[in-house]
């Protein structure tokens, strides 16, 4: 159940973005309430990753406004946004090969009211403890994804921005990722999740935004999402 209390933790208004002359986002507006898991669904090239890059302050050409935790962060550089509590889990997982697993975890500064202590991270992800002194990229794909998630939890991010965390992973790992995201929500955390896996999306999320050709075309509740699953799958071309 969404626990939105009216004031969204994240609110995006009229967001447009370009690569050179090509416009890839057009006046996107969306809200995420505190304690919600919201997915962003859309086919390849719809602009999902670009949207997260705009939220993170990484996109070069963009316009619109972004509010986070009641403050306008539109003009903040990326590192200040992270310090406000945005936790970025990029689509390539963003694991450093020149850093050990533990260094990957402790690189970001601890921010927010409830950063996870390292001990708790290792309790939740025993595999990471075993491999703590390995170079980050020596982990398997699934383990790297866990590392990327664990990193933003250790950081204490208030809103997780996850770019297709389940992509290319085995059903077992996908299930584990679902468990972690649900656990995050139980603790009052919030997640904006990019997901192509409609089934997975409907099992973890409260609401869904459908993005097509750079626009939000629909906002769906979970029941609606389940009911229209086949139509959506077809639409996504999966």
């Amino acid at each position: 159940m969404p626990r939105t209390d009216g004031t969204p933790i994240l609110s995006v208004e009229g967001l447009s973005a370009w690569y050179g002359e090509a416009q890839v986002l057009r006046e996107v507006s969306l809200q995420v309430g505190e304690g919600e898991i919201v997915t962003l669904v859309g086919r390849n090239g719809a602009g999902k990753t670009t949207l997260l890059r705009c939220l993170m302050g990484l996109q070069e050409r963009w316009s619109g406004s972004v509010g986070f935790l009641g403050a306008d962060i539109t003009r903040l550089p990326a590192h200040r946004r992270a310090r406000q509590g945005l936790g970025y889990v990029p689509d390539d997982r963003g694991v450093y090969s020149t850093l050990t697993v533990e260094e990957n975890l402790t690189l970001p500064p601890a921010v927010g009211p409830a950063p996870w202590p390292l001990a708790r991270v290792y309790e939740t992800f025993p595999r990471l403890r075993e491999r703590r002194s390995f170079p980050g990229t020596k982990l398997s794909g699934g383990e790297q994804q866990m590392l990327a998630l664990a990193r933003v939890l250790r950081m204490g991010a208030r809103l997780l921005l996850c770019d297709e965390p389940t992509e290319g992973l085995s059903p077992l790992i996908v299930q584990q990722i679902g468990d972690i995201l649900r656990e995050v929500r139980r603790q009052g955390g919030t997640v904006l999740l990019i997901e192509q896996n409609v089934h997975f999306a409907s099992t973890v999320a409260d609401r869904h935004y459908l993005l097509a050709e750079g626009r939000v075309v629909e906002s769906l509740g979970n029941d609606e999402m389940r009911a229209r699953r086949h139509e959506l799958l077809e639409y996504l071309g999966i």
């Binding site: 590192h79 970025y88 850093l99």
Partner: protein, 287 residues
């Protein structure tokens, strides 16, 4: 042959110091610093001028010249390189390339192209008995300084939080910003540090190599090959390749003297065919 190998390591010491600076600068700023050789040359000229005009000895120059050049580097980065950074990388290419030519010609105008003499410091004028052969003390000193510095840098990079940040920002600058680290704050000191290393290599070179305006341009071509062989952006790779290339070209000189100038580039081509990202580079660094 052992002695030739030792010569190679001493030559490699210069490659390593220069390649190390180039690698951290390239990694963290995304700038290929074509002026690196010019700063090496300025290091040598700096110590020459200090001695010749002010009677300041080698030991003071060894500290003062790199510090001064490092500071100059930070100013250069703040005034120009930082402003060009958001544009196409070609702008900083052209800027550093032009700067190298300007610096070289300014020195040429003042001192001409002939080499200036620089005496070895008295303390290191003799030779050392290395067991199998005796070797000039000064060369041993150069090797020791270079190895010590590379080790120190390695310790700082691997054992400290600052080092961790530099490694992360060298590998993935954008991601590192998105994880809450103000990469911009580290960029200026890292650039200055890289320039200081080049200056230090220049000071070390003054007593054993010809001090002339072209010394940097000649050397830096080889150093670029070293950085490519080591793997663009790989700090460890550039140092290891520096010493290795020094060794290989000295031995090559002994056995196939005809190839001595081109050996490094043949090696580079071979390494690139075998591993396009360089020996220690990551494939994804190419994309």
């Amino acid at each position: 042959m052992l002695q030739q190998a030792f010569n190679g390591l001493v030559g490699g010491a210069f490659y390593a110091l220069l390649a190390l600076g180039l690698a951290v600068i390239f990694g963290m700023l995304g700038v290929v610093n074509f002026a690196h050789g010019a700063f090496y040359m300025l290091g040598a000229f700096g110590s020459y001028v200090l001695l010749d005009s002010f009677g300041v000895n080698f030991w003071i120059a060894l500290v003062a010249v790199p510090v001064a050049l490092g500071l100059a580097g930070t100013v250069l980065q703040r005034l120009f390189i930082r402003r060009l950074a958001p544009l196409d990388p070609l702008y900083n290419f052209l800027f550093t390339f032009g700067l190298a030519l300007i610096l070289q010609d300014l020195v040429k105008r003042e001192y001409g192209v002939q080499s200036q003499p620089y005496p070895r410091p008295d303390l290191l004028a003799g030779t050392v008995d290395l067991g199998l052969f005796t070797y000039p003390a000064y060369q041993v000193f150069v090797l020791a300084v270079s190895v010590t510095l590379c080790l120190l840098v390695w310790l700082v990079l691997t054992r400290t939080r600052v080092g961790m940040i530099v490694r992360a920002a060298t590998e993935r600058p954008e991601l590192t910003r998105a994880l809450g680290i103000d990469v911009g704050r580290w960029v200026t000191p890292v650039f200055g540090f890289g320039i200081a290393l080049a200056g230090l290599a220049g000071v070390l070179a003054a007593p054993m190599r010809a001090v002339n305006p072209l010394m940097g341009g000649d050397l830096i071509i080889t150093v670029f090959a070293v950085v490519v062989i080591g793997g663009l952006g790989s700090i460890f790779g550039s140092v290891a390749a520096g010493f290795a290339i020094g060794l290989v070209s000295a031995l090559g000189n002994l056995y196939v003297p005809a190839l001595s100038q081109t050996l490094v580039f043949i090696l580079m081509a071979a390494v690139l065919l075998w591993r396009p990202a360089g020996l220690f580079g990551r494939e994804e660094a190419l994309s």
